[in-house]
Symmetry: C2
Subunit: 458 residues, 2 copies
């Protein structure tokens, strides 16, 4: 079956690339209200494409913000599995414009890469799925599984309305599993299946001392310096071996099995010194950097400030000091509980003579993990290997993709994360691009995947 | 003798206040080049006044910046002591103007206080000295001691050119002791002699991690967070009992004698909770807040910053983190040596995986202290008591006055700090004022002082 579909994709490659360029030419910047008509145009592009392909239900669902495009094709019958494709058609702003070598919304191919805002994140990868659906429908007249499509326009502004829609229309969006291509491979040419994501919680806290900045001569030695108090409190959170010292933080964290340590060891190591510019990497005592990043919880200071920040010296005792913290969580950790443990720790470690107020970050996410041996995951790895000619690696991501956690918690279904981006794609930065090799081999992967998945018993 | 002088001051009070208002009306803001002609006009006011009084040498000495007014009167003869009066005729900017209840350069008396920029700092106090000189010369035809006057126009911009002038013209400015009225009393109505000031040193240091901010998900657990490294380093500098943990920091610090602890205990305690707004004061283990502030070295964080400081959360590992530190020093501590000890401590406590660069603060000052039993100091206390009808207290200041240290180190002569300001004067702030009681009783104090000092054997 797949031969005809693959041939269709090859025969129509130029036309499909042109159609992708049309999609990429729409400046659907969701964060900028000036671009609201462009965001709507991108939604129309998706819905029109779904209609062309032959989706039987196509809806542009209005929300309080930007619309969500829903599509459905049930021609594979009741016995075939149903997959939910999630993606987004909105993009990040393109500025600073002067750093782009070609215009962000005039796609251009240079040295095997397609340059445009959204080429990788996520229009390019959404388009590959749609093109594969087209290839099936035009060459075979049907797709191997039932497909529901959910392409939103607010991913770059925090998916403000998505979760409520999914909750409200749970039945409409329900499926056997979800598939998302909005991520990347661990290295260029290294096919990757993500089987886990970290959860997330955070907070900001401010230590208050004197009611205004004080003269450090006249009041030095009399009042607690809030910046020093903050430093003591922050230092108490994590030791120099990168172990979090908050009571109960690691309770419930599942042990890293030998099998999984092996999987992680097989993921080709990024040269962290080179990519980050640090002289030496550090990681939690007892774990490698890759293990810590993929499979152990972390706590980071994202920002802090107090007192005078200009040139030279200003001899004050600052009236307050603030820090912003986030934690990345692994399965077994509840975001709200961890947030409370950190708050309790800060209260316990608040020095005499200062007070504190805490702003808990309202957004949070649980970690997500699927068994890497799950047939849907194994099939993804096998399909990648067939298309790219290289064994796939199974990796967990140190980051969070909130939509995955939401799909998991609303629908209790596995999420297949098949990302075709590469570390060189410059997401959210000037000169975003996507390799044409990923475009071709990615679509090939999807064809192998659908052909195989239709036989998977779920 | 003093009766005639005091009578002159009383008889001429209105005229003298008008003359002071003329001085205060000149917006001699040294930091703002727009006001350069006003600064020059204030210098002329001082030099003209000295000429009117009968000073035999009066010079407006040009510098690279604003001029310095020098005056000399040697009529008391070779056997009489020679005093050097230091003060400044420049003022701080007056903004924000909208917070002034009357215009900053249109002096106005309200409820016994004279409101104007410079009323207390330092035009008002300089003027009192000049008025007393006038009273002596006009009523007695002579002053009790020989007087040299040094009134500069750059105090509010760090006395940029003063120290070089003093070095270059050491012989011209040499005297038996110096007298300065550019400070205040510990409490309104509580006459105060300052017999010590703290020294000063500082530095800024930056901890560098990755070459740019990193995604806290993708790199969390792999690299050392510079903000956390900074917190550990800062926390290592001082413990929660406010004891500085830098090796050698307290070496050479002189013990606080029981006598001095008694003197300090006699200084009326400011209600620190009320003036600073803290719930609880803290001080170095083993010392009261007043002892710590006046007579023990301190270390303060004046500012720090790292990463994201805006609203909400940005999930980054910051590329760097910076802190600004200053120390206030007591006699026995060398500023350069202490600065180096702190730098050494930071290097020793720099965690793996980050680097550091240090910007030592180029300005520094040694602590200054004169024996509170020195006859020049005792005479100051006695004169204050006679004028204010209340026993004077002998206090050390937690702050630094760099000119005092310079006079001490260039001329090796005692400096008498006779300040008539009050804690309510709002120096450097909107609605600066000076109590007329200080004006009257301060001039009376100076008359008693000069009359007594002429007999002091130095």
């Amino acid at each position: 079956m797949s031969e005809k579909v693959l041939a269709y994709l090859q025969d129509n490659r130029e036309r499909l690339l042109e159609k992708l360029n049309e999609f990429l030419s729409i400046p659907s910047i969701s964060t900028d209200s000036v671009h609201k008509p462009d965001v709507a145009a991108a939604a129309d592009f998706v819905s029109n494409y779904l209609t062309e392909i032959g989706f039987t239900t196509v809806e542009v669902q209005e929300t309080k913000g930007h619309p969500l495009v829903y599509g459905e094709w049930n021609g594979a019958g009741e016995d075939a599995p149903t997959a939910l494709l999630y993606g987004h058609y909105d993009v990040q702003p393109a500025d600073p414009l002067e750093l782009w070598e070609s215009e962000p919304f005039k796609p251009e191919v240079r040295e095997g890469r397609l340059y445009a805002r959204g080429a990788s994140d996520d229009k390019g990868q959404v388009f590959m799925h749609l093109a594969v659906f087209e290839a099936y429908m035009k060459s075979e007249g049907s797709m191997p599984v039932n497909i529901k499509v959910c392409i939103e326009g607010e991913e770059e502004i925090g998916s403000e309305n998505l979760y409520q829609v999914l909750e409200d229309k749970k039945e409409q969006f329900a499926a056997d599993f979800a598939i998302i291509s909005d991520s990347g491979m661990v290295d260029t040419g290294q096919p990757t299946v993500l089987y886990g994501l970290k959860g997330f919680t955070g907070l900001e806290f401010t230590v208050h001392g004197p009611s205004s900045d004080l003269h450090s001569g006249i009041y030095g030695g009399v009042v607690r310096n809030p910046a020093m108090a903050l430093s003591h409190m922050l230092a108490s959170l994590k030791d120099e071996q990168e172990v979090v010292k908050v009571d109960g933080f690691y309770d419930g964290v599942e042990e890293l099995s030998e099998e999984e340590r092996k999987l992680i060891a097989d993921v080709p190591g990024e040269n962290y010194q080179q990519t980050t510019g640090v002289e030496k990497t550090v990681s939690e005592k007892g774990f490698t950097a890759k293990e810590h990043m993929m499979a152990r919880p972390t706590m980071e200071i994202n920002g802090m400030f107090s007192g005078y920040q200009g040139e030279g010296t200003k001899t004050i005792i600052p009236s307050s000091a603030t820090a912003k913290l986030t934690c990345r969580l692994v399965p077994g950790m509840d975001p709200d509980h961890i947030q409370q443990l950190v708050i309790d720790h800060l209260h316990k470690n608040l020095p005499e003579g200062v007070t504190m107020d805490v702003k808990p970050e309202p957004l949070s996410a649980k970690a997500y993990k699927v068994n890497p041996d799950h047939p849907l995951i194994k099939t993804a790895g096998d399909s990648l290997q067939k298309a790219f000619g290289k064994e796939a690696v199974y990796a967990r991501l140190g980051g969070s993709i909130p939509v995955v956690e939401s799909i998991d918690s609303i629908f209790h279904m596995p999420v297949v994360l098949l990302g075709f981006g590469t570390p060189e794609d410059r997401l959210h930065s000037p000169n975003e691009s996507f390799p044409l090799e990923s475009f071709d081999k990615g679509m090939e992967t999807l064809v192998y995947y659908w052909d195989e998945v239709k036989n998977t018993s779920l």
